[in-house]
């Protein structure tokens, strides 16, 4: 029984490292911010960070199966555009709108999964192509930025609760507890890790590969849609921007890696990806707070991203059996 926590630690050390990184960087940010530890500062940070965190969670699921979803950013944008049309009006109408947005996201994810499972196409190229389709649909819905969103809901979720706790933070925790944790402990969640670890062995062991992948990609679409919905609450509008979609997709991949999940699948947790996303977001803010010239910020961010993802490789340099370098 004593050894159990050792195994748990070894399994999740990436996520713990990402969490530690976030705490340090966020502390630096708060200490150097003019206003410091106040509700507005934390709420603004949360409103931006949670969006990426949820998209990073979305990306984690396909990655665990040794796949990838290059369309998460576009589903995110699509959900934003749909929400700007439907999450309006009376509370009942807005509620239906929310359900519709989530359904659209899940459908997009399901389509990805279906092509990958039944079409037997590789995830990279599938999601690259479906991403353009989802972007096209977004363009159709919002050729120019516009629309609206239920003000009450938006204010509530982008504000702060008594005690300075950002509402978005609560939403994030809610999504983790209601979506990720049950999934991880379900048969399907574990099957996803099994497939990523060794698809051949999983097949031989009787794991239902098709259904597991379908569920993983569908959930990814759903989570991306949650992110898009929340974006609408932050911006109060819908915009079909391929730049935003692209940035969120690529940053979600970086967040997953920084959070300790291997792109080769089989090991990792969405909670690590959440911290990875928060790290990425906070670094950007940190550079701003340190009064770094805006001109140099993209370069610094690029370097830090590169360094963060290369960190894991440092231990490989000490390897004494060179064969371990090759899978």
């Amino acid at each position: 029984m004593n050894d159990d926590w050792k195994f748990h630690l070894r399994e999740h050390k990436g996520a713990y490292a990402a969490a530690a990184m976030f705490v340090v960087i966020f502390a630096l940010y708060i200490l150097n911010h003019q206003a410091g530890w106040t509700a507005p500062v934390i709420t603004t940070a949360a409103n931006k960070g949670v969006l990426l965190a949820i998209v990073a969670m979305a990306q984690t699921l396909p990655v665990l199966t040794a796949g990838i979803d290059l369309s998460v950013g576009m589903v995110f944008v699509l959900a934003n555009c749909v929400a700007s049309h439907l999450v309006v009006g009376t509370p009942l109408q807005a509620a239906f709108g929310v359900v519709a947005v989530l359904a659209v996201g899940a459908l997009c994810g399901w389509i990805n999964g279906a092509i990958i499972v039944y079409g037997r196409l590789q995830p990279i190229i599938t999601t690259l192509a479906t991403g353009t389709v989802y972007y096209g649909i977004s363009l159709g819905l919002r050729p120019v930025p516009g629309g609206d969103v239920h003000a009450g809901l938006a204010d509530a979720l982008t504000g702060s609760l008594p005690g300075g706790i950002p509402a978005m933070g609560v939403v994030l925790v809610g999504v983790v507890l209601l979506v990720w944790v049950p999934y991880r402990r379900s048969v399907s969640g574990r099957a996803a890790l099994a497939i990523g670890s060794s698809e051949a062995a999983a097949y031989m062991s009787g794991v239902n590969i098709g259904r597991t992948k379908l569920i993983a990609y569908t959930l990814a679409g759903l989570l991306a849609a949650i992110g898009g919905l929340l974006l609408t609450f932050v911006t109060y509008s819908g915009e079909a921007s391929s730049t935003i979609g692209g940035v969120y997709t690529l940053n979600s991949i970086a967040a997953v890696v920084i959070g300790g999940t291997s792109l080769a699948g089989g090991a990792g947790t969405a909670i690590g990806s959440v911290f990875g996303a928060l790290v990425l977001r906070t670094i950007g803010d940190l550079l701003f707070v340190f009064d770094l010239e805006p001109l140099w910020q993209p370069l610094f961010q690029g370097f830090i991203l590169l360094a963060a993802v290369s960190l894991g490789s440092l231990q490989l340099l000490k390897v004494s059996n060179r064969l371990d370098l090759f899978k």
Binding site: F7, P182, S197, A201, S205, G206, G266, R322, L323
Partner: protein, 509 residues
């Protein structure tokens, strides 16, 4: 005895290759039934059909009197058939308990009940005789032998009526092998039907109640164990008579010491896995590495091939001291070392690439000028090798993955022979290979030695070490504990040294 499982007139084709042709098989409860045959005889395909991994083109499967179809491995498992494959069906990143209960785990409120799952895993491990394995350990962190035990525990956890083992003991340490034998006999006595594939005749002799021989995808004969001699059995398997398994060894030559050793390792150490290894190999010798699995033999070969970093001690080749940094350097003409790795599918070959590409790959520098490959020379060299080693392949352009295991191994060896190496390291080269090809390889090794190479052979098969090698260095815990040669080289001595007992202790044991 009424058979519990019958396969009737099963046929299966892969493209143009006929894996099984109207094959028949039946096994009864409470009996261990051995499946014998060369590679390509159809045994693995038969097993895959029995366990639902592959569908037959024709034929019927009758289980407990009812005709069945297994569309998916899970169908066979639910029907009570559990299979332990040569390629493990374990997921390395998941824990032992997760692996054992991967399908149909115990559930609570729709989610996996981890406590109950752990209990089931511990029970299964205990039943398999592997209580020392921690259920939360990731399977990838276990040694190959331990992983195989987990595989066995996993199969047992499903309470099968029929247990199938495909070369299940080839990766096990001697101690684990004994545990498995005891386990299998006990399961048989409890009424389980056991189907067993192995290429080790001594295993068959120890375990089997019934034997079935397959050749070329067809059923040849079924008989009770012990009613046919080994020679008769092998003849049924390969369809021809074989005289001696091993080529004759040259007598110990007195002038041998005068020749400069091809390889001399002094005080070789690495990372706590190799301690102070002193080993000399002369041209014309076959030196064996013996001992239990995992005592440093593999690491020693990797050190000699330049794969390991931080190797202490001294290495001299033909009297010259060298420091090896990479396989690229080790294979150079002035050094001349070749390593035939133990896992041909992941380390020795690029399976989807053609036979030609694989054959020429290690010798491309020789077959090219200024980086441009000389195709004519490449083709000639490859055809040469195919003839020399009798590699059976329809064409040089087919993917090497379509060849049988024995022929694949020949391609790996041929690939290295293209460089005319002076020191040849072979890491368990005949594992999982049929009898006929094994003999060809033994004869080849002796020929290579006679032509002046120093051959180092690591094998887990005692008969092979005794039959092929001039001297054997027995490894224990990263050290060489004993050298055996001539009359001393016996199975008893090998076993005793492997366990690090002196002969008197062994005699008392």
């Amino acid at each position: 005895m009424e058979p519990i499982l019958e396969l009737i007139d099963i046929s299966k084709r892969y493209g143009g290759v006929r894996a099984l042709e109207r094959a028949r098989f039946a096994c009864a409860p409470g009996r261990i039934h051995a499946l014998l045959g060369e590679n390509g005889a159809g045994k693995s395909t038969l097993i895959k059909i029995m366990s639902g991994v592959v569908q037959p083109d024709e034929g019927r499967i009758v289980l407990e009197g009812r005709e069945r179809r297994f569309a998916h491995p899970q169908d066979a498992v639910s029907a009570g058939i559990a299979c332990i494959f040569q390629e493990l069906s374990l997921m390395p990143d998941l824990s032992v308990a997760d692996n054992i209960c991967i399908t149909n785990p115990p559930r609570k409120y729709g989610l996996i009940d981890r406590k109950e799952q752990r209990r089931i895993a511990e029970a299964a491990l205990a039943r398999a005789g592997a209580e020392d394995i921690h259920p939360l350990a990731p399977v990838g962190s276990l040694s190959l032998s331990r992983r195989q035990m987990v595989e066995i525990a996993k199969a047992l956890s499903r309470n099968p009526k029929i247990l199938i083992l495909d070369e299940a003991t080839s990766a096990l340490t001697a101690a684990d092998v004994q545990r498995v034998y005891t386990l299998l006999k006990r399961l048989r006595d409890e009424g389980m039907a056991i189907v067993y594939i192995s290429h080790r005749m001594n295993e068959i002799a120890e375990l089997a109640d019934d034997c079935s021989v397959f050749r070329n995808g067809q059923h040849v004969a079924t008989f009770a164990a012990g009613t046919q001699s080994d020679a008769q059995t092998v003849e049924m398997m390969i369809g021809r008579d074989i005289e001696h398994a091993f080529p004759p060894k040259p007598p110990v030559q007195s002038g041998l010491d005068a020749k400069a050793p091809a390889l001399e390792a002094r005080g070789l150490s690495w990372q706590g896995r190799l301690h102070d290894i002193d080993l000399t190999a002369r041209p014309g010798e076959i030196v064996g590495l013996g001992g239990l699995d995992g005592q440093g033999q593999r690491e020693f070969f990797l050190a000699l091939f330049g794969v390991l970093r931080g190797v202490g001690g001294e290495l001299k080749l033909e009297g010259r001291p060298v420091q090896l940094h990479s396989p690229k350097q080790a294979k150079r003409d002035d050094i001349g070392i070749a390593l035939v790795p133990e896992d041909r599918k992941t380390d020795g070959l690029m399976l989807p690439m053609s036979v030609l590409d694989n054959l020429s790959f290690a010798a491309l520098d020789r077959l090219s000028r200024a980086g441009i490959v000389a195709s004519g020379a490449e083709l000639r060299a490859a055809q040469d090798m195919v003839k020399r080693l009798s590699i059976k392949a329809p064409d040089l352009s087919v993917p090497v993955g379509t060849l049988s295991g024995g022929n694949q191994q020949k391609v790996v060896i041929a690939k290295w022979l293209m460089n005319a190496p002076r020191i040849i390291l072979l890491n368990d080269p005949t594992r999982g290979i049929d009898v006929g090809t094994k003999q060809e390889i033994y004869a080849l090794l002796r020929r290579l030695a006679e032509d002046g190479a120093a051959v180092l052979l690591y094998s887990t098969d005692y008969a092979e070490l005794i039959g092929c090698c001039d001297r054997v260095a027995v490894f224990f815990d990263g050290r060489i504990v004993r050298w055996l040669a001539g009359d001393e080289l016996t199975e008893r001595a090998l076993v005793a040294s492997a366990l690090n007992l002196t002969t008197t202790e062994a005699a008392a044991a």
